[in-house]
Symmetry: C2
Subunit: 137 residues, 2 copies
């Protein structure tokens, strides 16, 4: 994966090294399948550049976006809302208040999830103890 067409080889202010990746590398690193990566792109969560052969070329920026998408998915944010979030991102800085809002609302949801999950875990533990199970002492 060596790419030269890309003129936009940005070097970030912290002197980050540009490691450009093909889709299977990225699949490896992120734990997502190539299918899923392409799917995310199809539905507009990602916009990935192509090399001269038309192959996808992932920049560190893309990897960071993928990582964040993964976090949002792990907390069950619906794809639609993630789409909304990245629409806002792609609209530039003017949308920051709305993005913040979206994230704050989502955080509430995640905290609620945590509460539900913890109380369900307690219920399960109670049941386990009922079976005389080795609950953590």
């Amino acid at each position: 994966m060596s790419v030269r067409i890309i003129d936009d080889a940005q070097s970030t202010d912290d002197g980050e090294v540009q490691k450009i990746r093909g889709i299977s590398d990225v699949a490896q690193e992120t734990g997502l399948s190539t299918h899923t990566l392409r799917y995310y792109e199809r539905i507009g969560l990602l916009r990935i550049q192509r090399d001269h052969a038309g192959h996808r070329v992932y920049f560190p920026e893309d990897l960071r976006r993928i990582a964040f998408i993964t976090r949002l998915r792990q907390t069950d944010m619906p794809i639609r809302e993630i789409q909304r979030y990245f629409e806002l991102v792609d609209q530039g800085p003017a949308s920051e208040p709305e993005r913040l809002n979206l994230l704050l609302r989502h955080r509430e949801a995640v905290q609620a999830q945590l509460v539900t999950l913890q109380s369900a875990l307690e219920a399960i533990d109670t049941k386990i103890e009922l079976y005389g199970g080795s609950g953590q002492p």
Copy 2:
């Protein structure tokens, strides 16, 4: 909902009062839809008695089972595994070790979920702070 046909009006040892419920009461109380309650029965998670009119009659025991099913669903146990669990329950006490095992394994999964969720929450909080958001101080 007054029922007399049911000869099996068990009074539990702690003198629990028999409050027998129709499906819509139960839907109300549990937050599940009547559709879902019937669905759970179809797939074998519940076996609910009928009154003389063929209407479902829920006993406290059934409500407790429903509550536990809900806990398992809240923690993303797949329906298949919940089916398995209640197959074991319905097989009587001999299956208790296996039930315990199933629950212990599920607890592991839930704890993993909690860890994932918490670390994703941190990531989201970090992003929120990046937006200058009012994270909890």
